[in-house]
């Protein structure tokens, strides 16, 4: 791991609607523990909501892992959304505003990239998807 863990990570199994709400509430709780301002609490919770919903909608089930991290005194929240679903054939396309294979708004992934400070996505077609996003405390 690149960053030091400040507290135990929180793992939320995602396989239903209700898990989306519980993941974002746990993420908000963790970020508020770290002293994030309220705007950033909403930002982190919204990003988790989008990533968890993508899991339910496209991969059926997966996991959201929430971590409080430290990078030489700079604190932040790391959100990892991971699944063993169908994967994304063309990541560049999926990252474009308005691109959706489900007739939705196509704003989830590009929106999460805008909301958070760091964003990484890895997807193997047929094997699953992992999105890692971080927000640092200002």
């Amino acid at each position: 791991m690149r960053f030091a863990l400040i507290a135990d990570e929180v793992r939320v199994a995602i396989d239903s609607d209700a898990d989306i709400v519980s993941a974002r509430q746990k993420g908000r709780g963790l970020a508020s523990q770290c002293g994030f301002p309220s705007t950033d609490l909403a930002v982190v919770a919204t990003a988790i909501s989008e990533l968890a919903r993508n899991i339910v909608r496209y991969a059926v089930r997966g996991e959201v892992i929430l971590r409080l991290i430290d990078d030489n005194g700079r604190r932040g929240v790391e959100v990892v959304a991971t699944d063993d679903g169908p994967g994304i054939p063309d990541i560049t396309l999926a990252m474009q505003d308005g691109y959706s294979t489900s007739g939705s708004l196509g704003l989830g992934l590009p929106g999460v990239r805008r909301l958070m400070d760091e964003f990484e996505i890895a997807s193997d077609f047929g094997k699953g998807t992992t999105v890692t996003a971080r927000k640092w405390k200002r």
Binding site: D17, R24, A42, E50, S104, L105
Partner: protein
């Protein structure tokens, strides 16, 4: 989590009390669209003050509520979107285009009152 819906005069007021799942949001949409014609409401207020997240699904559903209710001949106002929620919505790229919003319940009611009296609208007395 059920959202209580109150009838006040010619208006329906739905007050969200806590976080809503996608299923709850869909149920709220369906209930409002049905109730608005059953009670012959002229306006609908959805108070989202209690929501700490309005993500893509919630935005799409609120937009659908407003558009469906307009097709049923009534007006909808979304009230109480918190500043940090608004910030996240804008960053995400979400808009409530074509949907009326107000600061709070009072402003929302005032908006509906004005709408009801506007030109081209049938004026009805209520309460």
């Amino acid at each position: 989590m059920q959202v209580p819906i109150l009838k006040q005069g010619a208006y329906l007021i739905a007050t969200v009390q806590s976080a809503l799942t996608d299923e709850d949001l869909k149920q709220l949409r369906d209930t409002l669209v049905e109730r608005v014609s059953v009670v012959r409401a002229r306006g609908v207020i959805v108070d989202v003050t209690a929501l700490d997240v309005i993500d893509s699904f919630a935005t799409r559903t609120l937009r659908d509520v407003a558009h469906m209710i307009r097709l049923r001949g009534a007006e909808t106002v979304i009230v109480g979107i918190q500043p940090e929620v608004a910030f996240s919505m804008v960053k995400l790229g979400l808009t409530l285009e074509g949907v009326a919003t107000s600061l709070d319940l009072e402003e929302g009611l005032a908006y509906l009152d004005r709408k009801g009296k506007g030109p081209g609208h049938e004026v009805r007395t209520h309460r």
